[in-house]
């Protein structure tokens, strides 16, 4: 390139691009705020997203978890700028971006099926955002090389997307979304198309890359295991509304309601009676088996629901303290087994225990007692 043209390029660079090059290894991560956003698609009865409030701290990895149709992808597309919210505001680094076109938002997006440009090589794909930002050639080369190095694809630079495996395409998409140091990274079910084993490896890899670059990340998935594994915080969406936002641990141990409890991990629900509340908890009675446990807002002397995870339940011979019932069946699930018990009060529960740990076997029809540690139960 002639020198004059080079200068022209340099002059045309906007300050943000200049800044990007200068701090090649520094992150420009920003905080994302979704404020009271509503989106209703024409011809649908219920809004896709309703009065959603969500914040992602700078550098945080937030997973949006929900079933299909819960509004998680709509939310992502609103942040990316492809869907215009009807109401509310979206702020990036406390600046509103609702009226900013997608190409000016400086947001990296990894699409569900990667959306790699099929007519460009890996290198050209990754270089594309830098070209759009008029980054100087040498700088662009260096950054493309180093990001491909980071995702372990430096040998594949001249391949076309169709010559790569699913996992490799995934890495290219990630590299392309990160190479221009976006203020925030959005990922839309990025591992959905991969097989189970590869998915596990990619989960770890994405976590590592996130730690390395420290980008604020909004990650959409319907897979609760993936959400728990990867997230700093998880936001559970249902029918366009936020059900609960918490750390994975809290979400699992302290689900706010029955929906979250059953959506994140398996859970048994038993009808119980709340006797009264004492210091930081509730006195609960279930068919004569009493205890003290935490929970959210049931009314005393009224029927309530007791939520207990299968691995918390214990099964023992008849006569021990607990709730009596009869074994229906035992299912072998590899490293653990699930015992199905019908309680005498009418409800059924699933108990999970590690295979081979307990010598006693319970053939169908055996009378047993089911008990649990009240500390790990929750009243809803």
């Amino acid at each position: 390139m002639p020198a004059t043209e080079n200068r022209l390029y340099a002059r045309r660079q906007d300050p943000s691009a200049e800044e990007l090059i200068a701090g090649a290894d520094r992150t420009t991560a920003s905080r994302l705020d979704i404020v009271n956003v509503t989106k209703r698609f024409r011809g649908t009865a219920t809004p896709a997203v309703e009065s959603l409030n969500l914040s992602v701290e700078s550098g945080q990895f937030l997973v949006l978890l929900g079933a299909s149709g819960s509004g998680k992808t709509t939310t992502l597309m609103m942040v990316a700028g492809f869907v215009q919210p009807d109401d509310g505001d979206i702020q990036l680094g406390s600046r509103s971006i609702v009226n900013v076109p997608p190409e000016s938002r400086n947001i990296g997006v990894v699409f569900q099926n990667y959306a790699l440009f099929p007519h460009m090589t890996v290198q050209e794909n990754v270089r594309f955002p830098l070209q759009m930002r008029r980054v100087r050639h040498q700088d662009a080369d260096r950054r493309v090389f180093s990001i491909l190095e980071m995702v372990g694809l430096s040998g594949m630079a001249r391949r076309y997307p169709h010559q790569l495996s699913g996992g490799q395409q995934q890495r290219v998409a990630l590299a392309r979304a990160l190479v221009f140091r976006p203020s925030i990274l959005l990922m839309d079910e990025p591992l959905g198309a991969l097989d189970r084993q590869l998915r596990g490896r990619m989960q770890q890899e994405i976590r590592e890359i996130h730690r390395e670059v420290g980008a604020t990340t909004l990650y959409v998935t319907h897979d609760q295991d993936e959400a728990l594994t990867m997230a700093d915080r998880v936001a559970v969406l249902r029918e366009g509304r936020l059900e609960q936002m918490a750390t994975p641990q809290n979400l699992f141990d302290r689900p706010k309601n029955r929906f979250v409890a059953s959506f994140v991990g398996e859970c048994n629900f038993l009808s119980a009676r709340v006797e009264g509340n004492s210091s930081a908890g509730w006195d609960v009675d279930l068919d004569g088996y009493r205890g003290h446990c935490e929970g959210s807002g049931p009314e005393p002397s009224r029927p309530a629901t007791l939520a207990i995870r299968p691995h918390v339940l214990r099964v023992s011979d008849e006569g021990h303290p607990g709730v009596a019932g009869a074994v229906i069946d035992t299912l072998f699930v590899g490293d653990s087994e699930e015992i199905l018990v019908r309680l005498d009060q009418g409800e059924s529960v699933t108990i999970r225990r590690v295979t081979g740990e307990a010598a006693t076997r319970f053939p169908p029809g055996t009378r047993v007692t089911v008990s649990w540690s009240w500390r790990n139960a929750l009243v809803l």
Binding site: G81, D89, N99, L116, P118
Partner: protein, 577 residues
Amino acid sequence: MNSERRRSIPWGMIWLTAVIAYLLVVYFGPIAWLLRYALEGGGGSLLQVLGSSVTRSILVNTLTFAAAITILTLLFSYPIAYFAATSHGRTRNALLLVSTIPLWTSLLVRSVAWLIVLARHGPVNEILLALGLISEPLNMTHNTVGFYVSSLYILVPTMVLVLFASMRGIDPAHVKSARTLGAHPLQAFLNVYVPLSIPAVVSGCLLVFIIALGFFVTPSLLGGPSDRQFSMLIQQTVDRFADFTRGAALSLVLLICSLACLALFGWVAGFNQFMGGRYRGKSLGSLQRVSLKLRYLDVPLRPLAPVLESRRLWLIVVTITLVFMFVPYIVIIPLSFSDAEYLEFPPSTWSLRWYEEIAGSSRWLTAGITSVVVGGIAAAIAVSLSFVGSLGMRDAPGRVSRVALPLIIAPMLIPSIIYSVGAFMTASTIGLSDTVLGIALAHAALALPVCFILIATAVDGVDPAIERAARSLGASTLTSTRRIMLPLVRPVLYVAALLAFQTSFDEIVVALFMSGVQTRTIPRLMWEGARLEVNPAISAVAVLVLGAILILAVVTGIVQQASLWRRQRVRVEESSQ
């Protein structure tokens, strides 16, 4: 705070509007201009036209012909489409390629070829005489035989394509499960396959009927006095008697017939199907129920079942049909190398004299240049409009595309004679008649539907996420169109350009009216030649036209492959490292 949301520039709508505007000005404008004459003075001319017994009998003639040829075409096409749909890989491709080969040649060349094949001293008569089956040559041109044979030849490819497109979607498991439930192959076919193919049959028949209604070139060249078609009546009224008012009234009658069929088509099959969309299936349920009655054919046909069920029999039928598709090529190519003054097949002496004659004729050379220039301009306009229009159509809301799609496809389905007369009159008024630009603009409108269908299907096939990705990476709408969409659909653009060029290069009806002293296109000269005298010279021109299109097709194919080769080379280089 968000009372006013800024909207980005709606490029899609702007582009779509541009395409519609082009058609309104260049296509629908002239038609309206023409029809204005028909309604002058309270539509007296219209009543006069409808009162004429000659007009009425020709209208009945036209409708009868269209109905008859539609049924014949269906009978010929169904077996081919069925075989193509139920076979795989190479067999399927070969069947489709051969049965649609006529589509790659102009209507004019095809008609002229049949004129030669069926001529009094043409190959068919020669063969029959040599075999001793007849003692005197049969008259097969300028009568109903020639007209029907060549019409059939021209319409079969369209029908095969429509039938195949839908039959391909019939799950073979349906027929298999009928078999496991105790049906004979014949029963399974009649009870399951035929009813499932009814939507395709209906839309194919309507389409062929609409095309047949507007037939002009074939009946003019091959038909006899009893085969006069409505289009010919219009042309004679305008061209020979210069009676525009009456011509306009006649055009209006034909237009109403065509629009009625089009409306029926839109209602039954939906215009979406041109875009590879699904059938809307409206009212087809009852038709399918009626078609189930065909199962009673099973009883009378049962004794013949072993014959009917033998794949070999049908292979023979299909082979004969496919040979029929090749006949014109087998004949006109050798004929053009004949040394004789008159038709002689096979030629007794060979020479290049006819080619030399054409090459030495300034008339043909000038016409060749005119045709190429006109075709080039028309292709450029049609392809660019189709590309931007496709982008607009993709983003347009449903109610907009429901209106826009029929408008864009109309030039393919409305009889071209109506448009030609209108275009001629409009162009004369503004001084564009008999100019390269005038003809090119008109040809671009005629080529637009095919280009649009091709390109819009390709554009729809591009994952929207790819463009979104480009936007999220910092590309503006225009940049993403230029850097991402354009390269991705470029191979299709080449094919569309080729088809548009071919449409213009072969077009005769508009050329008949619009080209005159200044600008004669090749089809125009061929038409004059074919009307005057059928001799080997005309077959030489036909072969040249065929060759030109073929060379272009090959070039297009190579250009199209080039990008793929580039990718392959990369792979080879890497694997050799």
